[in-house]
Symmetry: C2
Subunit: 210 residues, 2 copies
C-alpha cells in the first residue's frame, strides 16, 4: 500500500522543508516584508519561479504551520462524538490541535516564531486572519451538521466557533509575545484562561442558547 517514496518525492520534500526553514530564518532576521522571495529562493539555490511551484506565495510559506493546525482542528472536531455539546467538542478539538503541535519536533518554537512574525507584520496579520476565518467557516459547517441545523440560518454555529477561536487566538498572542518564554505548559494555560473567560458562562445546553 505505502510504496517506497522514490527519489523524486524525497527531493521534493527536502526542498520544501529547506524552503520553509530558510524563509522563517530570513523573516525572523530581516522581517517578513523586507524579505524578498528572490532571497528565499537563493538561500536554497532554486529559481524564484520554482519557489512559486512549492508555495502559493510568501504568505503560504510563512503560515504553513498554522494551516496544518487548522486542518488538525477540523479533523479533530469531525471525529468527536455527535452527542457531545458543541462547546465541549470545540474545546476538545482545540486541545487536540495543541496536542499535535506539542508532539511535533520543534513545533512550539516554530509556532511561537510564526506568531512573533505576525505581531510584527500587518501584512502577515491580515493573511493569518483571513486563513483563520476560512477555517472557522468550515468548523461552523461541521457544528451545524452535528446539531442538524442550517449553518446559513442559525448564527449559533458561526458564533460559537468564533468565540472559541477568537479567545484562543488572544491567548496565543499573549503567550507568544516576544520576550516571554513560551513553553508548552504556559501556552496551554494562557489559552485555557482566555477560553474559560470567554465561554465559561455560556449555556452548555445548545437548545437553551437563544
Amino acid at each position: 500500500m505505502t510504496t517506497e517514496p522514490g527519489l523524486r518525492e524525497r527531493k521534493k520534500r527536502r526542498t520544501r522543508a529547506a524552503l520553509t526553514d530558510a524563509a522563517l530564518e530570513l523573516f525572523s532576521a530581516k522581517g517578513y516584508d523586507a524579505t524578498r522571495v528572490e532571497e528565499i529562493a537563493a538561500a536554497v539555490e532554486i529559481s524564484p519561479r520554482t519557489f512559486f511551484r512549492y508555495f502559493d506565495g510568501k504568505e503560504d510559506v510563512a503560515l504553513g504551520q498554522l494551516s496544518a493546525m487548522d486542518e488538525d482542528a477540523i479533523t479533530a472536531l469531525a471525529t468527536r462524538p455527535a452527542d457531545e455539546a458543541p462547546l465541549t467538542a470545540l474545546r476538545a478539538a482545540h486541545n487536540a490541535m495543541l496536542d499535535r503541535l506539542f508532539a511535533e519536533e520543534g513545533g512550539t518554537e516554530r509556532f511561537s516564531a510564526t506568531h512573533q512574525l505576525i505581531a510584527r507584520s500587518p501584512t502577515l496579520l491580515a493573511a493569518s486572519l483571513r486563513r483563520a476565518a476560512a477555517a472557522e467557516d468550515r468548523l461552523a459547517l461541521i457544528i451545524a451538521e452535528r446539531q442538524g441545523v442550517d449553518a446559513g440560518a442559525d448564527m449559533r454555529c458561526h458564533l460559537l466557533v468564533r468565540l472559541v477561536f477568537t479567545s484562543a487566538r488572544l491567548g496565543v498572542e499573549i503567550a507568544c509575545r516576544r520576550g516571554d518564554t513560551c513553553d508548552d505548559a504556559q501556552l496551554r494555560a494562557t489559552v485555557d484562561k482566555a477560553l474559560r473567560l470567554a465561554t465559561a458562562t455560556l449555556p452548555t445546553d445548545w437548545s437553551a442558547w437563544l
Copy 2:
C-alpha cells in the same frame, strides 16, 4: 474659526468622493480583484499616480467607510462615563457607531455594499480583518485606561473588546448577505442578537470576571 474652504479644498473633496463612488461601482460590477486601479483613475479622469495621493491603495478606497466607523466607535467609547461597566460602554459605543452610520445619507447602502464586496473577495476580507484588529487594539487600550489596569498584563481588556466586535461583525455579515434586504432596523436587530448571545451571560461586574 471655520474659514471658508477654498477652491483647492473643494476640488479635493469632490475628487475624493468621485473616486470612492467610481471605485465602489466598479468593484460591485466586476469584483474587487478584477478592477484595476488604472480603471478607477480613468473613470475620474486622473492619472493612476494621483489615485495613490488620495488613497493609500485599493484597499483604502474600498474600506474607507469602515475605517471611519472605527474612528466613530473609538470616539464614542472615549466619551462614555468612566463608572460605566466596560461591557455596557462597549455596547453603547457600538450602538453610537451604528447611529452615525444610519444618520449618514446612503450610509447603510454603502455599508451593505462594502460587506458584500468583502464576502466575495478574500483579499478584501484580509484587509478588513486587519483593520478591525487594529481598531480593537485601540479600544482595548481605552478599556484598560478606564479600568486602571495594564492592557499588556490584563487580558480581559482585549478579550472583552474582541468578544463584542467579533460577534457584532458576525451579525453584520449575516445581515448584509446578498439577497437579503438590509434595512437599518434589521441590521441593528441581527447585530443585537449576536451580541446578546455572546455577552448576555458575562458577569457585569468587571472585578468578578476572572
